[in-house]
């Protein structure tokens, strides 16, 4: 399986719950919980946008939406991101490192909510 180098300008996608609970705050901002690993872990999963589609990444659009951020934002927060494909998800990638609160907040602040109709190829 070919491993892609993630460039600074590449987009990473993260699913966020929007029903119960809703990770979009009343002012439209995304909670930093969207970019926090479980306690004791030092990584979260994302998808590399150029290798996936909205439908494949969102899994269940009644429960989730997608947010995107560029790899440079991840790296500016002293975190690493790498393409780490899985058998059922070739676009799977990982953000790894020391997830201090400010890093999760910065990633949430710099992430953009995607519309379901968005065509990734354009």
């Amino acid at each position: 399986m070919e491993i892609f180098e993630i460039l600074d300008e590449d987009y990473l996608l993260r699913r966020i719950p929007v029903d119960n609970p809703n990770y979009i705050k009343p002012d439209g901002n995304i909670t930093s919980f969207a970019f926090k690993p479980k306690k004791g872990l030092d990584e979260i999963s994302v998808n590399l946008k150029k290798l996936t589609s909205y439908r494949d990444s969102v899994l269940d659009d009644a429960k989730f939406k997608l947010v995107q951020l560029t790899a440079v934002v991840v790296r500016q927060n002293n975190l690493d991101c790498n393409h780490s494909p899985e058998p059922d998800n070739y676009s799977h990638s990982s953000i790894k490192g020391n997830f201090i609160n400010s890093a999760s907040k910065n990633m949430a602040r710099n992430s953009v909510l995607l519309e379901a109709s968005m065509d990734f190829n354009n």
Partner: protein, 132 residues
């Protein structure tokens, strides 16, 4: 034909007791709904939210509403914690309730962290800073 006048559930003044009660009930209902979440509710392996954490969160909420402080936002974390967020103009307090440890808070002004520590229900200094 003259249509009947619509009656708002809330009186015009937004700081009325009715509005407070509605907001409090909405937040408590949201917190109770967190108990319905199955493991992996975020699709990335998030843990269930324990009843103990929800009860602790509801207790904090009730105490804050007694001081006329509203909860702006609440959400569970992938680790089973609950966040309660308070907002007043450029000030924010994030209260984090964990299953296994003390309740903690972080206070922000204009997005910058000002102070953090263990949440004490009657921390007058913090509450006064927040509401001033």
């Amino acid at each position: 034909m003259k249509l009947p006048k619509k009656i708002s559930p809330f009186p015009k003044n937004s700081n009325t007791p009715n509005k407070d009660i509605s907001s409090k009930i909405r937040i408590i209902n949201q917190l109770n709904d967190f108990a319905l979440l199955e493991e992996n509710w975020d699709s990335y392996g998030a843990l269930r939210i324990s009843e103990n954490v929800i009860e602790k969160a509801i207790s904090v909420v009730k105490n804050l509403y007694l001081k006329n402080i509203f909860i702006y936002y609440t959400a569970p974390s992938p680790s089973g914690d609950i966040l309660l967020e308070l907002k007043n103009k450029n000030k924010t307090i994030e209260i984090e309730i964990s299953p296994e440890s003390d309740i903690t808070y972080t206070a922000f002004k204009n997005g910058d962290e000002i102070k953090a520590g263990i949440w004490i229900q009657d921390n007058e200094e913090l509450i006064n800073w927040f509401i001033e």
